[in-house]
Amino acid sequence: MIPSDLKYTPDHEWVREEGDRVTVGITEYAQKELGDVVYVDLPAVGEKVKAKAGMGSIESVKAVSDIYAPLTGEILEVNDELQFNPELVNQDPYGKGWIAVIEVTAAEERENLLSAEEYQKLTGEK
């Protein structure tokens, strides 16, 4: 089920908005596509990220895939738990599998995010 209180990107990231701070992760659709996640290369706290540019990588069984920043800003926190339990991305992608918190510096980019309904149409997921 696609959470209705989140926003999404066409690259299959989700965004939880909390004022200027957003928590991001990859969606249920993305984690199914990747398969078992074995390692998450997290961005660094303090790193400046640009919307649609890479901010880390996920390795699933033998495939490395980029994680794309949904919005421009600065990394405030990362989910260090993923270093020891990367499977959280598969098990709880919208909860314990969160990846990073970004302080957004280009608020106008939020207009480009997809609603849950729009993301559902994109993926065909329920």
Binding site: E33, G35, Y39, V61, K62, A63, Q83, N85
Partner: protein
């Protein structure tokens, strides 16, 4: 569907990775088609997975003294030693029917390779694979077959790894012609006991095509069979071509700026350790 087949070539570790990544980049840009190529490594080289821990100074020294090159791949997976082998790379993507999931695409390519080996008279299986546990795991790719990798009589013949970027993928892999554990025993192993253990393990778990065929493989015959097999399963007709000017320029830039750059090759990666699970390399070093 028509794809491009590049001619056989040999290159340094950095050049080989630069060309592979250039093919992916130009495919994503829409200026290059689905491409298959086969190549060799000169000098012999070690390649590490993108997120794998960097080589220790001791291992780097042993590689240098043995005349072995080394590079960090753009793809996932573990360490591979490239000597007596044929390496394949396939660059393709969603527009050519490879839209994921990862394992489904792996399986399709594996089925193509399997068909190719069948044409050679070598019956290979696709390994089922399991999720890696959190105990000790070898840092070497060929220590165990992963999902849909190719085995002959239960022993690993081909090791492959992928890089996925937007709606495209690069998958490359090593097809062993012969297997000699000398590298793992004399260069990779950090201690004599490890050398003996690695050597014994590899002899049981790895096989080269020469052993499977019972004869020294003719490289051109092998490549012809594999291209035909991949083409049949993927429904692709291969048209012979060559690297474009754009791809050559990009590959040269990637070779210079990335694959011969110590910052890329020595980047911090994950350590697959006996402490349990994978840990960031820095933490592993700090813990002793």
């Amino acid at each position: 569907m028509i794809g491009r087949l590049l001619p056989w070539s040999t290159g340094t570790a950095a050049w080989n990775m630069a060309v592979d990544e250039a093919l992916l980049t130009t495919y994503l840009q829409g200026t290059s088609p689905m491409t298959l190529r086969f190549y060799g490594w000169d000098p012999p080289a070690l390649s590490l997975g993108y997120l794998q821990q960097s080589l220790s100074p001791a291992r780097q020294g042993r590689c240098r003294r043995a005349g072995i090159d080394w590079v960090r791949r753009p793809s996932g997976g573990r360490a591979v030693f490239h000597e007596h082998e044929i390496t394949y790379v396939l660059v393709t993507g969603a527009q050519d029917g490879f839209a994921g999931p990862v394992l489904a695409d792996y399986q399709r390519i594996g089925l193509g390779l399997q068909r190719g080996f069948a044409l050679l008279g070598v019956p290979v299986e696709l390994a089922p694979g399991t999720r890696p546990g959190k105990g000790a795991v070898s840092e070497a790719c060929f220590a165990a077959p992963s999902w849909y990798e190719l085995t002959y009589e239960g022993r690993k013949l081909v090791g492959s790894a992928q890089l996925r970027r937007e709606k495209a993928l690069l998958q490359h892999g090593s097809i062993l012609l012969t297997f000699d554990p000398w590298f793992w025993q004399e260069v990779w192993a950090e201690a004599p006991t490890q050398a003996r253990a690695e050597g014994t393990q590899f002899q049981r778990q790895v096989v080269g095509l020469q052993e499977a065929l019972g004869a020294v493989p003719d490289r051109s015959v092998v490549i012809s069979a594999l291209r035909q097999g991949i083409g049949e399963v993927l429904d692709v007709g291969w048209q012979e071509g060559s690297l474009t000017e754009e791809e050559l320029c990009l590959a040269k830039r990637l070779q210079k700026e990335k694959y011969t750059n110590a910052e890329w090759n020595n980047r911090r990666g994950r350590s697959v350790s006996a402490l349990g699970g994978t840990r960031p390399a820095m933490e592993e070093e700090a813990s002793g």
